[in-house]
């Protein structure tokens, strides 16, 4: 596959695999990242996938830019176009509306839809995780239904509870930890997504499906999650 490699100081190579956000480009990024990990190249310390690129970091004492670039070109050449391995699909339970998603009425009003319709559209598809960033575990998701595009709030909230599911412009996502933010909050997941030392249930390249639950189920799952971390 096509690859353009650029230097990142003395410790990185940025492999660019496309110029826009698309499933195809996302699949290429995921495929190259898997290939890099499988190849166990000496001196490569970590990889950071993004929408259309893979940052490959190396230890300048054990590797150099020319060597790492050559390896990346070789690996990219071995990846056949149609050879993309599908990621996992991870169910994320969400209690929509009410105190769990205070902006659901505003999002529904903006879309000219009922709240039920918003929930149906939001939970009725899978979203590809292009990358994690902004906060640990914060997924940048593709594939929000155009009818749900909603501008960010004019006044950002100073405190958004952990697990909040929101819409900001053309994106939807989950706040894994309490944070300030300007997205419209439509629901909340009881999953504990910020637990340093425990693996996240998802990674870049996987997909997320939001599964509507009610307040009772929310509390049950939340209690189980708390126990799991005790």
């Amino acid at each position: 596959m096509e690859i353009d490699i650029r230097p990142v100081g003395a410790c990185g190579a940025l492999a660019e695999l496309g110029s826009q956000i698309s499933e195809t480009t996302g699949a290429r990024v995921a495929a190259l990242e898997r290939a890099v990990h499988r190849a166990h190249i000496a001196g490569i310390t970590e990889t950071v996938p993004a929408f259309a690129s893979l940052l490959v970091r190396y230890d300048p004492l054990r590797a150099d830019y020319d060597g790492v670039s050559a390896e990346l070109r070789r690996l990219a050449g071995d990846i056949a176009a149609g050879n993309a391995q599908a990621g996992r699909t991870v169910d994320v339970p969400v209690c929509y509306g009410g105190a769990y998603g205070e902006d659901l009425p505003a999002v529904a009003r903006h879309a000219g839809l009922s709240e039920e319709e918003v929930i149906r559209l939001h939970s009725g598809r899978t979203y590809r995780i292009y990358m994690l960033g902004f906060l640990p575990g914060f997924p940048y998701l593709g594939g929000l239904d155009e009818r749900l595009f909603t501008p960010r709030r004019e006044t950002p909230r100073t405190r958004i509870p952990a697990g909040s599911v929101g819409i900001g412009g053309q994106q939807t996502g989950i706040y894994p930890m309490e944070s300030p933010g300007g997205w419209q909050l439509i629901g909340r997941t009881p999953l504990c997504l910020f637990a340093p030392g425990r693996d996240l249930p998802y990674a870049a390249g996987d997909s997320i499906r939001f599964v509507p639950i009610d307040a009772r189920e929310f509390e049950q799952i939340a209690a189980r999650e708390r126990e799991g971390h005790a």
């Binding site: 100081g9 996938p49 259309a52 940052l55 960033g133 640990p136 340093p196």
Partner: protein
């Protein structure tokens, strides 16, 4: 180690929480990593041990056991029970003694390294404080009056006399005290020339903008912090705006923000970003960048990725040389 009076930014830092950027964890860690490594070597620790990073105002600290400390980084007139102590040197501390760094005379960040290292619980392999995620260090926060920091067990085989002798070598060869960076002089003003590899988005800028960036004189603005050094100076125009598809960031990445001004990313940088990055400052020169105070000047010089790797290896070699002086007769 009892924190009697910390500056508001004092916090525990080591070499950073690396290896978790794909999950969105910022690296954090010391901003001046060479200073941390040097201080650790001088008191018999691995280069990577955790220490207290202080900023500008310094701190007052009391020790409740006999130990050895080393202060590195910013210049200050530090006093141990009222007696001036040398910087960049091992200092014996009797139980009960109080260290007062005072306000720094030059530079921005100082490292208080203690034999055995600051022994808070590691999170994801690092003791660095991440104030945004509230993890690492002491309860994921800056230090407060009354905090008590646990000290680890000293590594075996340390000889104070050898470390003191190595510190004398450093006095004779002051260039060993920091990575070898280049400087220019404008009257009496010293301007660090931060060496940077163009890219990864240098093609987002017309060639005259690259010339502007690599020849202009910039000044550090007061809203700089551990996330980044914000600079002000000649405007670096983009071809089609500074927005890019977000991609991975490293310490040293130089973003050009929407107003055409550079931001040099430091230890607490986000893992990804959506502004075009014109260049990446090499790790050895981040030590100089991390010591810049608001108002102080800096300039950028282009080098190749191959030169960058060579310079990083030279800096590592320099630290190895110091370690050998301390470890062997």
């Amino acid at each position: 180690m009892n924190i009697l009076f910390p500056d508001p930014l004092s916090a525990v830092q080591d070499m950073g929480r690396t290896g978790h950027a794909a999950q969105g964890y910022p690296e954090c860690g010391a901003c001046d990593k060479y200073a941390l490594a040097l201080g650790n070597l001088l008191c018999g620790n691995p280069e990577t041990a955790a220490a207290v990073e202080m900023t500008l105002a310094g701190a007052t600290v009391q020790f409740d056991q006999d130990t050895v400390i080393a202060l590195t980084g910013a210049a200050c007139d530090a006093k141990l029970d009222g007696q001036s102590i040398p910087l960049n040197a091992p200092v014996r501390v009797p139980a009960g003694a109080t260290l007062e760094t005072g306000m720094f005379a030059a530079g921005l960040r100082s490292y208080l390294c203690v034999q055995g290292g600051v022994d808070v619980a590691p999170v994801l392999g690092s003791r660095s404080t991440d104030q945004k995620c509230r993890i690492g260090g002491l309860e994921g926060r800056a230090l407060r009056k009354g905090d008590r920091l646990p000290i680890g067990k000293p590594a075996p085989g340390y000889a104070f006399s050898r470390a003191a002798r190595a510190a004398k070598v450093l006095l004779d060869k002051p260039w060993l005290m920091r990575p070898r960076t280049a400087h220019a002089y404008l009257g009496r003003q010293v301007i660090p020339l931060l060496r940077a590899v163009p890219g990864p988005q240098d093609d987002a800028f017309p060639s005259e903008s690259l010339r502007t960036f690599f020849s202009g004189l910039y000044a550090v603005t007061p809203d700089s912090n551990r996330m980044g050094v914000k600079l002000s100076g000649p405007v670096v125009a983009t071809k089609n705006g500074s927005d890019i598809l977000s991609d991975g960031i490293v310490e040293g990445s130089v973003q050009i923000s929407a107003n055409g001004q550079p931001i040099l990313m430091l230890a607490d940088h986000q893992t990804t970003g959506g502004y075009a990055k014109i260049a990446t400052v090499i790790a050895p020169d981040l030590s100089a960048a991390a010591q810049l105070r608001p108002g102080e000047p800096a300039a950028f010089r282009p080098i190749t990725a191959q030169q960058a790797v060579r310079l990083s290896r030279e800096t590592a070699q320099q630290l190895r040389h110091i370690k050998e002086l301390i470890d062997h007769d």
